[in-house]
Symmetry: C2
Subunit: 260 residues, 2 copies
DNA sequence: GACCGTAGTTGAACACGTTCAGAAAGGTGC
DNA sequence: GCACCTTTCTGAACGTGTTCAACTACGGTC
């Protein structure tokens, strides 16, 4: 059958993501996935990659909505049902895109984090790197975003399923803060990575909606917002602003607690 | 073209809701009640309202995804195609929900705006009113949000089609600012309504994702954020913050210009 | 080799959103 | 009454995402 000569793994990033999708659905567990280890057979893994590659290629070529599952299956040389054996839904194919770009962002941000010392420069570099990585997918990312926006969707950046990818992303901003020479309020320092990630989500949101040529407005937003954040972060140690800062941190803590 | 707005008396006079007493049969259209000749389009408008009412009811009862167009049509006693005669798509039915809640928000906010004078109290009242109005639809609003999140969708709060609804919403915050006793930087005063609306969008986003019982976290977010905003707005006249404020306003202006 | 269990695979079938060619319904001018 | 038009309405039909019972391939056991 589908002789897949290509070496397995292809360009598969090390992370591989996909932490046990296991849809907690009504019926029994998914075949092939075992809790801890990954006893997936080589053959299956190969097919899985083939389907994912094909799907992402078609998404890029035709767009998400215009790519049918039948087309993906046909192009990959398998039956429709086979795609559903490996991916719970069409949306789940997007998770591959998600993970891949996450890894690419990290890689692209690495040089900046290694060389720059100033907070503003580090942040700016990381943000632009993120846009760089996503740029080729702008038109398709809009649809992707639509899908991810549903809170109940496992693709939501806030969902439990995305938790690994989310912490990975936050880690980048952790490094932005940790490696920087900026002096700031210790409590703020603790919260800052997550806040920056939240800001990043906002920028992505803006970017998705940005229809200016080359998404220049998003670039301008970054260039304008970074010195601003830098300034505000510096001001955080100012006496007049102390109470306000405390207030913000208290609000975050309060809102975060799911309970009473 | 599609222009679905029909500002006509959307407020749903209680009696009207209808039920069309004789409508046991599917067709049964009541002819023009000889005496009081209705205006020409009356019949169509009636059907339109009937379909919208039915759809929103079913959305509330079963959820958006679980409500099929066939079910809406059957429940309303019309053919599927008829629903598509009045609404371009299933998503467009949501626009009715959108407009209605917009109006309800305004009405609910009215008393607060009429009595309160302090900025913080006005803002807090308006925000809570907005949540109050949307509360019954929380579970369904999640799906609604997913749909609206697609930038190309006419339902997006940033789309051209939503422009009227958007300005209506911004107007509310305009009143929050205008009627308040707060003293603030004149330039900021000019921009504040739109910024507050943007903040409101953020709160709605948070609310959509808020799975705490009764969405208490969103309430807490409002209660915590309002005094914070109030304080920051007051501080806007402080000398140290002047440059930062100017920077923010310049950034907004820069990002806003779509062009070069 | 024969048997069996499971990973892998198939494609018809289902329910859905949407479309479309046309049938009613109702008005207007003669 | 009749012809003609627009508005309103119909339901079969299309393409889609998704499901499912059944089939195949293959590794292990006796």
């Amino acid at each position: 059958m589908t002789n897949v000569t290509t070496a397995a793994a292809d360009s598969t990033p090390p992370g591989d993501g996909d932490a046990a999708p296991d849809s907690s659905g009504p019926t029994a567990a998914q075949p092939g996935t075992s809790a801890a280890g990954r006893p997936r057979r080589a053959r299956g893994e190969q097919t899985r990659q083939l389907i994912l590659e094909t799907a992402l290629r078609l998404f890029r070529e035709r767009g998400y909505a215009e790519t049918t599952m039948r087309a993906v299956a046909k192009e990959a040389g398998v039956a429709v049902g086979n795609a559903y054996y490996y991916f719970d839904s069409k949306e789940h194919l997007i998770q591959g895109f998600y993970d891949r770009n996450q890894a690419a962002h990290r890689i692209k941000a690495e040089p900046v984090l290694a060389t720059e010392k100033e907070f503003a420069a580090r942040l700016r570099g990381v943000l632009h790197a993120g846009i760089d990585v996503n740029e080729p997918y702008h038109s398709f990312a809009a649809t992707f975003f639509k899908t991810a926006a549903e809170p109940s969707s496992p693709l939501s950046p806030f969902s439990a399923e995305s938790s690994p990818a989310r912490s990975a992303a936050i880690t980048i901003f952790q490094e932005v803060v940790d490696g920087s020479s900026a002096k700031l309020d210790p409590e703020l320092r603790r919260e800052l990575p997550e806040l920056l990630w939240l800001g990043w989500m906002g920028i992505v949101l803006f970017w998705v909606y940005d229809s200016s040529p080359g998404q220049r407005r998003t670039r301008r937003l970054i260039d304008g917002a970074v010195p601003l954040i830098d300034r505000l972060v510096s001001l955080s140690r100012l006496r007049v602003l102390r109470p306000a800062l405390r207030q913000i941190l208290a609000l975050i803590a309060s809102v975060r607690s799911n309970g009473e």
